[in-house]
Amino acid sequence: MSVTATESRRERPAQDSRPPKSRHVDPTRRSQAVAAWVLALPFCLLFLVFTAGPVLASLGMSFTDMRSTDVRSPLGVEFVGLENYADLLSDPVFRKVTFNTLIYLLLGVPLTMASALAVAVALNRVTRLRGFFRVGYYLPVVTSIVAVSVVWKFLLRDEGGLLNAMIGWFGIDGPGWLDSTTLALPSLVAMSVWRNFGTMMVIFLAGLQTIPREIVEAAEADGANAWGRFRHITLPMLRPTLLFGAVITSIGYLQFFEEAFVMTKGGPLDSTKSVTFFTYEQFGFGNYAYASAAAYLLFLAIVLMTLAQFRLLREKD
């Protein structure tokens, strides 16, 4: 985190047309370094102020008692050590939202990855119209989560919702998907899988296309059936891509927020409230330090989970 230390070493921009001779400290290297810092500086300054700085400030803030009333004098707040973290761990609402976030992760990641892989494998076998299908299946990804959440909220209505009307054709009386404490969360996951699987589909398809045709043909010649080829060739060869997909998808589900904000407001009875939702709410109440501590626990969870996934999927060979 000591970008500042290196920054102090930057020097004044050199003249563009300095002759590449007559310097005792390798002039090309030197002018390269100067030019590099000139190019790097605008990004680094913005990045320090608006990203790296807040990441550290958030950590610092989580050890204080800062509230919205302290905004104008952030240095006047008291240091309270780990109190916020201790309070969080014994807060029943925080426990509830942590549990919910875990369910989002455990339902959402396998479903998203499996649908993406299924469509990617199918797309890889399609010879014509591949581009068309790929774009079509990818469409939900580019749309605003807020907007599609509004649409899905209407689709999932109890009376007059399109989904219940459709399953009604088969004689099934559909429930109020978003009004039930048990069904609301899986419904949000379903909508989220629909919104997100396209990204992984494109990545998996790119990965599938790097598998040499010869290996597949050799397996076919040896009498391996389609499932055997998928299980023993496609999956192992796709492992780096799958690992990457698992990491990115998990990070996404751990930050679940907008769907719940629009479709259920976190309800019914907090059953769809996520950690990010909790953090936003605490910020709204003015509990800045408490919100920061909750955000940091989420951050910690993301880092630990990423490291765990790398270990698990990488060392299996």
Partner: protein
């Protein structure tokens, strides 16, 4: 991770000469039932969009009808008229557009500069800069928004458009994309220019940058889309209605006093979704390549 990030795999709809290992040219022919399955799947995936667009032209009573109708019995543009006259959607649209364009341009400029330095130049602190930028790829927005709000309040940028733009001008994703792209350019190009006596900055601006066109375009489109759909930070920083972006306005209407105006909300969703769908469909080839080669949206 590195493998996905460093091998831009050939994609399906490129000329057949591109990839030596494309299986579609030589693979077994596609069974017809697969096309049927793919078509049905695609229809299911786009149903929400179709229903959204169609229903936004229904009068309020028909949107709430039980059982729901598919085609409108009466076609009306009343929902859109209200959106643009009674509600301030032109303002939200403009805010969203200004923020998204500014963020896209900022990322195109700053990320290509740093991306080139990281890919081709030698300088003290290089490894550290790259590690720190890479490290923040994992940081969720929820971690930074509280201190950012304190910061913007203290420098007077809360409830302003610059307050929405500045935190996203320099994103780690763009650095990553540009670094990957520039690394694929031959070193000899730069060596030759140096021998000819061109200065380091000039090499970047007049030789490298023009070659980065496709990558910069991809980055521009992707950051535009991300910014257009961004929600948490604009929700936090826009405290008065005239600074709302489209997603913020739509979400707050959907959970607020307009929650029961279904037709209006659907028309609002169309206004949020349609421009990005149009941009995406026009430029989808760039976007798909960007995603496949970097692995990140």
């Amino acid at each position: 991770m590195t493998q996905t990030l460093q091998t831009p795999a050939p994609l399906g709809d490129e000329p057949a000469t591109v990839g030596p290992r494309r299986r579609s040219d030589r693979g077994p022919s596609t069974p017809p039932w697969l096309y049927a399955v793919m078509a049905v799947g695609l229809f299911l995936v786009v149903i929400p969009f179709l229903w959204m667009v169609i229903s936004s032209f229904k009068p309020e009573a028909e949107v709430r009808a039980v059982p729901p109708t598919w085609w409108p019995e009466t076609v009306t543009t009343e929902n859109y008229r209200q959106l643009f006259t009674k509600l301030d959607f032109p303002r939200y649209f403009l805010n969203s557009a200004i923020v998204a364009v500014a963020v896209a341009v900022g990322n195109m400029v700053f990320c290509s500069m740093l991306g080139y330095a990281l890919a081709k130049l030698d300088f003290p602190g290089k490894r550290l800069v790259f590690a720190v930028v890479l490290g923040t790829l994992m940081v969720p927005g929820v971690v930074t928004f509280v201190p950012l709000f304190v910061l913007t309040t203290n420098i007077g940028l809360t409830n302003t458009l610059p307050g929405m733009i500045l935190p996203f001008l320099a994103g780690p994703f763009g650095v990553f994309l540009m670094r990957q792209f520039v690394m694929s350019l031959p070193d000899e190009l730069i060596q030759a220019a140096r021998v000819d006596g061109a200065g380091e900055l000039r090499i970047f601006f007049s030789i490298i940058l023009p070659l980065c066109g496709p990558a910069v375009a991809t980055l521009g489109v992707l950051t535009f889309l991300t910014s257009w759909n961004n929600f948490l930070w604009p929700l936090v920083v826009a405290t008065s209605e005239d600074k709302y972006t489209l997603p913020v306005a739509l979400a707050l209407y959907a959970v607020g006093q307009n929650a029961t105006k279904y037709g209006l909300l659907l028309a609002g969703s169309v206004v949020v979704v349609l421009p990005v769908l149009a941009v995406f469909l026009m430029l989808q080839r760039h976007i798909m390549q960007g995603i496949a080669s970097t692995g990140i949206k």
